[in-house]
Amino acid sequence: MLDVLAGFVGELRAAGLPVSLTESLDAAEAVHHIPLEDRDALKYALGATLVKSSAHWKAFETAFEVYFSMRGPEYEIDAEPPEPSDHAPDGEADMPPGVGRQGGGGEPLSAEELAELLFRALLSANDAQVGALARQAVSRYAGMEPGRPVGGTYYLYRTLRNLDLDGLLERLMQTARAASPEGQLTPLEDRLARDEFQARLDRLRRELEDEIRRRLVADRGSEALARSLRKPLPEEIDFMHATREELASLRRAIHPLTRKLAVRLARKRRHGRKGPLDFRSTMRHSLSTGGVPVDPKFRYPRPAKPEIVVIADISGSVAAFARFTLHLVHAISSQFSKVRSFVFIDGIDEVTRFFEGVDDVSEAVHRINTEADVVWVDGHSDYGHALSVFWERWGEDITPRTSVLLLGDARNNYHASQAWVVQEIRHRARHVYWLNPEPRAYWGTGDSILGEYAVHCDNVFECRNLRQLEHFVTELA
C-alpha cells in the first residue's frame, strides 16, 4: 500500500500539485482509519489530505482513477477479450434476460439490441445497467488493441459516434412528451426533462470514459497512462494552444481569479506603506493609556490609481490571450482610475464603449469579437498601420499618468513596424509594457519584430498562462 501511495503522490507532484511531505504522511495515517475496501472512502481520505485547492481536484481525480482503478475485484478485466464479466453484482438481478445471458459470456448482443437496452436503461435511470451497457459498448465499438499508442479520446470518440447520444436524447425527449397526459410538455417541463436526460447521458459518458481508462491501465500500466493523461492545471494552460475544453475551464477559472485580484489589490492599497504620523488620532487613542502615546497612529496613504490604456491584437493567433487580458483588466477596473481599450488587426477601433454600463464583462468581450471595426485591408495583423492610426487619433489622450499595455505576438506579416509610435507613446506615458503570449524563445523569430518595439518599452513580459497574467496585473496596480 505504501508503495502505491508513494507512486500516487509522485504522480500528483508531477502533475503540478504541491504535495508536501507532511501531507503525504497525513495521507498514510488517514488510510489507517478507513475501510480499505471502500474505494470512495479512500478517495475522499486521500483528497482531504493531499489536495488543498478545489482547482486541483480534477487533476487529483484523474490520477486517482488511474492509480486505483485496477485494485478492486469487481473491476477485474478478463485477459480474454472482449466481455468484462460479473461487474455490478447488485444490478444483475433486475437486468433483462438479454443482458444476464450476455454477462454470463454468451453470444454478444446485436447493435440494435444494445441501443434498445441502453435507451430503456436511460429512460428508467437504472444506473447499474447503464454502467454494464457502457462496458459492452466500449468492447464493441472502441476497437481497442493492446499496445496501440492512441490516447483515450480516440476510443471515446469512436464509441460515442456509434452510440449517437444526440439521437438518444431526442428519442428520450419524444418518449417523455408522449408519456405526459396531454401528449405535450409545457416549455418549463420540457426544459427540465431535457436537463434530466442530459444529466443521465453525461453519466453514461463518464462511465464510458472510466471503462476506457480501466482498459488502458490494464494495457499500459498506471505510470505510463498517468503521464499521458496528465493535463495542465487551469492556471497553467497555455493561451495560444488551448483546446476548446481548456478555454472553457479557463473561462471558469478567470471569474474567481478577478474577484481574488480585486480583493487583494484593494487590501494592498489600504494596508500598504504606513503614511505620516496622525497626531490627532494618536492623541485620541492615548486617552485610554492615561495620556501616554503608547500606540502611535499613522495616516494611510492614498496612492493615485493608475490610468490604463490597453491596445490589443485580436487576430486569430492571439485572440484568446487578448480576450482574457481584456476581461481581467476590465473586471478589476475599479482598481484603476480609468481604463480604455483598443483592439486591432490591421485597423484599430476603440472598444471602451462595449464595457460601459455592462455588468457582464464576458458579454462585452464577446461583442468586441463581433462588432469592433478592426479590419482595414485584408484582415492580417499589421501592427505598424494600427499603431500609427492610434497615434493620429488618440495619441493626444495619453498623459503622464497613463500606463499603456500593448498585447500581441508582434508577428507583423512583414509590414513596416512604425516603432516610432511606441517611442512617442513612451515619451508621453508613465509606463509602456508589452505582453507577449508566445514563449520567450520564439520572440524575434520569423516575422516577429518584437525586438523593434521592445527597445522602446519599459518592459516586455511573457504572458503564456493565467498565472503569469495574474502576476503582471498585481504588479501593475
Partner: protein
C-alpha cells in the same frame, strides 16, 4: 517550542482535574506533547452521516468521510466552497450531534491577537494598582514604619504577580476553546477575511493545540477541540495553514441530495414540489450566471412556494418568484428567458 518564561507558576486551569497546564508536561501521554485525543466521537463514516441526518444535515460521503477523519486524526478541517452551501451549518451540526459547546470566531479584516486569543484586562489592572497604592498610603498615614526601598520592591513584585494572573485575563475564542474542559467545536468562520499575517496566529493553536502567553506560560489543551475553518475563497490561504488542515470542498449538492435537503428542511413541502424545486435549480446552475443559486436560497425559495400555497410550479409562478433565487438583474432576465423558451423545437 519555547517553554514559558520563569514567571511564578500560576494555575491557568479553572478547577479541572485533567492534565495540568504548561508545566505539567508528563501529564500528556503523546510523544508530541498532544493531550490524549480521547475516545473517538464517531465509530464509522456511516455513523457520522446518520447522526448528522438526525439533526437535519444531509451529508454526502465526502463530507462524512472528512468529519470522521478529522475526529480520528485530530486535525482541523478547512471547508471551502461557494457561499450558502452549508459550511457554517456543518460545524454547528457537528457540535449538536457530539453534544459539544460551539465556540465561534468570526473573522474580519483587522482581527488581531487581542480579539482572537486573549487580552489583559487593562482597566482592571489599573484599578488594582491604584487600590494597592491607596492601601499603602493609608497604612503609612496610620504610622506604620516606612521601610523604604525593600518594601516597595516587594510590593511591586507582588502586584506584578497579581495583575498578570488569571483574574485579569480576558479569554477570546481561541484560548477559550483550548482551555475548555468539556468537548468543544471551534468554528473559525470566513478565515479568508483576515490578512495573511494574522493567519499565523492560528497556526500554533491549530497544530499544537496550545497558546503561549508570555506572562503566564503555555496553555495546552485539555482536550483536542474539533476545529472547522470556513473560507469563501476570496483569496488563497497560506500554504502553512492549508498544510495543517484536512481540506473539504463543499460544492452545490447533487439533484438527489438537494431534493432530500429541501424535504428535510422545509416543513410542509410535498414530494412533488421538492422534486420540481431541485430540478429547476439544477437547470439554473447549468446556465452562465453571475451568481448561482445556493442551497440556502433554494430552501428560501421552497419556503416561499409553500407559503404561497403552490403545489406544482409552472413557468409563470417560477418567473414571479425567481427573485428569491437570483440576486442580479441580468441573471434574472437570462433565467426567465431560458426557462420560457426551453422548448425551442416543438414536436
Amino acid at each position: 517550542m519555547s517553554e514559558a518564561p520563569p514567571r511564578p507558576a500560576v494555575s491557568t486551569e479553572s478547577g479541572s482535574a485533567g492534565s495540568g497546564p504548561a508545566e505539567a508536561g508528563p501529564g500528556s501521554p503523546n510523544a508530541l506533547g498532544f493531550p490524549d485525543p480521547g475516545p473517538p466521537l464517531f465509530s464509522s463514516v456511516v455513523d457520522v452521516r446518520e447522526r448528522l441526518a438526525q439533526v437535519g444535515y444531509l451529508a454526502d460521503d465526502g463530507i462524512a468521510g472528512v468529519v470522521h477523519l478529522a475526529d480520528r486524526l485530530a486535525k482541523p478541517v478547512l471547508v471551502e466552497g461557494p457561499a450558502g452551501t452549508g459550511k457554517t451549518e456543518l460545524a454547528k451540526s457537528v457540535a449538536r450531534i457530539t453534544g459539544s459547546r460551539l465556540i465561534r470566531l468570526q473573522c474580519y479584516e483587522g482581527l488581531d491577537e487581542s480579539k482572537a486569543l486573549y487580552e489583559w484586562n487593562y482597566k482592571k489592572q489599573l484599578l488594582r494598582i491604584q487600590a494597592q497604592r491607596i492601601a499603602s498610603e493609608t497604612a503609612e498615614a496610620d504610622g506604620a514604619e516606612p521601610d523604604g526601598a525593600i518594601r516597595t520592591g516587594d510590593s511591586w513584585r507582588e502586584i506584578e504577580e497579581d495583575i498578570f494572573s488569571e483574574e485579569f485575563l480576558l479569554t477570546r475564542p481561541l484560548l477559550e476553546a483550548i482551555r475548555a474542559p468539556e468537548p468543544v467545536v471551534l468554528l473559525v468562520d470566513e478565515v479568508d477575511r483576515v490578512e495573511l499575517e494574522t493567519e499565523a496566529l492560528l497556526l500554533e493553536v491549530l497544530s499544537e493545540y496550545q497558546v503561549s502567553i508570555p506572562e503566564l506560560g503555555t496553555v495546552r489543551a485539555e482536550q483536542i477541540p474539533l476545529v472547522f475553518l470556513t473560507s469563501n475563497n476570496t483569496r488563497e490561504l497560506s500554504e502553512a495553514l492549508k498544510r495543517r488542515c484536512l481540506y473539504l470542498h463543499l460544492d452545490y449538492p447533487s439533484l438527489d441530495r438537494e431534493r432530500a435537503i429541501v424535504r428535510a428542511r422545509v416543513p410542509g413541502v410535498t414530494e412533488e414540489l421538492a422534486d420540481q424545486v431541485a430540478r429547476i435549480v439544477r437547470s439554473l446552475r447549468t446556465l452562465e450566471l453571475k451568481k448561482y443559486p445556493s442551497v440556502s436560497e433554494t430552501l428560501d425559495w421552497a419556503r416561499t412556494l409553500v407559503v404561497l400555497g403552490v403545489e406544482s410550479i409552472d413557468a409563470e409562478q417560477a418567473k414571479a418568484t425567481l427573485h428569491v433565487l437570483l440576486k442580479y438583474r441580468s441573471d434574472l432576465e437570462r433565467a426567465a428567458k431560458e426557462l420560457a423558451v426551453a422548448g425551442e423545437d416543438p414536436v
